[in-house]
């Protein structure tokens, strides 16, 4: 799976945006988490929050949701902010059926996520 990493400036706060592309399933979940690891390691109370731009993700299996749970847990432990934005309608439905909107904050767009995550800091 392809993962792009970009920085996104919102007002005075920087936010790191990671944008995975394609399916997060049995074949790609490990790679996905591995790609996230260096970003998760930088998270902390004084570091920019991490936002996962999911607009390019068209399928997520339970193993992918588990990877997100691990990421959210790691972010929380380090006192850093994490969120997920711009889910495609079907992926959003999976999130809601799995009750994953309670595990990781979900936002409609990268823009609104950047605003909210920055405000939390």
């Amino acid at each position: 799976m392809q993962i792009t990493v970009s920085q996104y400036a919102h007002a005075a706060t920087e936010i790191n945006v990671v944008a995975p592309l394609g399916r997060i399933d049995q074949a790609s979940a490990d790679d996905f988490l591995m790609a996230l690891n260096p970003m998760l390691a930088t998270l902390g109370p004084d570091a920019p929050p991490l936002l996962l731009d999911f607009s390019g993700v068209d399928y997520i299996a339970s193993i992918g949701l588990r990877a997100l749970m691990v990421a959210a847990r790691q972010a929380k432990a380090g006192g850093g902010g994490i969120g997920i934005a711009a889910l495609q309608p079907m992926v959003r439905e999976v999130f809601s059926i799995a009750r994953f909107d309670l595990v990781i904050p979900c936002f409609d767009s990268v823009e609104s996520a950047a605003r909210e995550l920055s405000a939390c800091k």
Binding site: Q26, Y59, A61, S62, I63, L65, R66, M69, M90, E93, V94, I97, A98, R99, F100, L102, V103
Partner: protein, 323 residues
């Protein structure tokens, strides 16, 4: 093969509260507003088309599932998974059908020794009838001790050795194939406190898997593959869908249960025909269970990905499924 669900609730028997029954009546009357019914049959037809959570109920008895195979002449053997509180109405039904005069053999397959899976036995009338034969099949070496424990003071007034039926204990080995009461049976170890076992039954080209109180760890691909093999091509898989996926892997991790999401994914990978949601969370009322059922069907639909559809049912006390 016919499967009858006598108890489908997890952990603890429950009953609908007065408030829940009132809500059903209000919903039914609201739906009937302004309608005229010509006769009793028209009223019944109207009731039958109301949503299940309004006109019916999932029931509240704990795990008990009966398997009936092709009838063999003179065959008086019954096959039942688990001894939950659903075993009480099952016993009453057998008494009504056979009475005390026709001795029967009851084969029980025990998933594990937690109380919700054993509690129906003291209220199963056929054990008090001399001539009946009870065979307890299971993989726990302490099966006999656990079953006797609940029928001893101070737990219950009748001691186990006072019952009239003869009882045999048959320790099974997981992974080995047995032929019992006309079924081929194989057990599989499952992740649950104190261990639990799933059972796969096959007869005349039909197969059913009873897999409850079983947690699935998403990062253990080896075990997932073992379950996919165990479920492979089954006509029906009865699966513990007690929690949401989020709960099952966060706050309720290691509590020994699973979710609708994992159920659908494993059954899809195993090419299963039908999935029965089972071991319902006792906190959920009928409306909640009905909405979980809808969500599970929707999840199957959006993840089908070119596969043959997996049929999903949400089991309820009294449901029969013909395979």
């Amino acid at each position: 093969m016919q499967i009858k669900f006598w108890g489908t609730r997890g952990s603890l028997p429950v009953a609908a509260t007065a408030g829940e029954v009132r809500n059903k009546i209000i919903a039914a009357l609201t739906a009937a507003q302004g309608q005229q019914f010509a006769d009793a049959a028209a009223i019944e037809a109207f009731a039958d088309q109301l949503p299940f959570a309004v006109q019916g109920s999932y029931g509240g008895n704990t795990a008990c599932v009966e398997l009936t195979g092709a009838a063999q002449p003179g065959d008086l053997e019954h096959v039942i998974c688990d001894l939950g509180s659903g075993l009480r109405p099952l016993g009453q039904c057998k008494m009504a059908e056979f009475g005390p005069g026709k001795p029967q053999t009851y084969h029980f397959f025990i998933s594990h020794l937690h109380w919700d899976h054993l509690m129906g036995l003291p209220f199963f009338v056929p054990i008090y009838i001399p001539g009946n034969r009870i065979v307890m099949h299971g993989c726990h070496p302490n099966l006999e001790a656990a079953i006797k424990l609940q029928m001893s003071a101070p737990c219950f007034p009748v001691e186990f050795d006072q019952i009239g039926a003869t009882v045999e204990f048959d320790l099974l080995e997981p992974g080995r194939e047995y032929t019992i009461a006309g079924f081929k049976v194989r057990a599989k170890l499952q992740l649950h406190a104190g261990d639990s076992y799933g059972y796969r039954f096959e007869q005349a080209g039909k197969s059913v898997v009873y897999s409850t109180d079983s947690e699935h760890k998403l990062d253990n691909r080896v075990e997932q593959n073992a379950f996919i093999d165990f479920f492979r091509g089954a006509d029906l898989v009865i699966f513990d869908t007690m929690y949401s996926l989020a709960d099952a892997i966060t706050v309720k991790a290691d509590w020994g249960h699973s979710s609708n999401i994992i159920a659908v994914e494993l059954c899809q990978e195993a090419g299963v025909c039908r999935l029965a949601m089972f071991h319902h969370e006792p906190i959920h009322d009928d409306a909640k269970l009905a909405s979980l059922y809808d969500e599970t069907r929707r999840f199957e639909e959006i993840t089908r990905d070119g596969r043959a559809p997996l049929r999903i049912i949400s089991s309820y006390d009294g449901l029969t499924v013909d395979l």
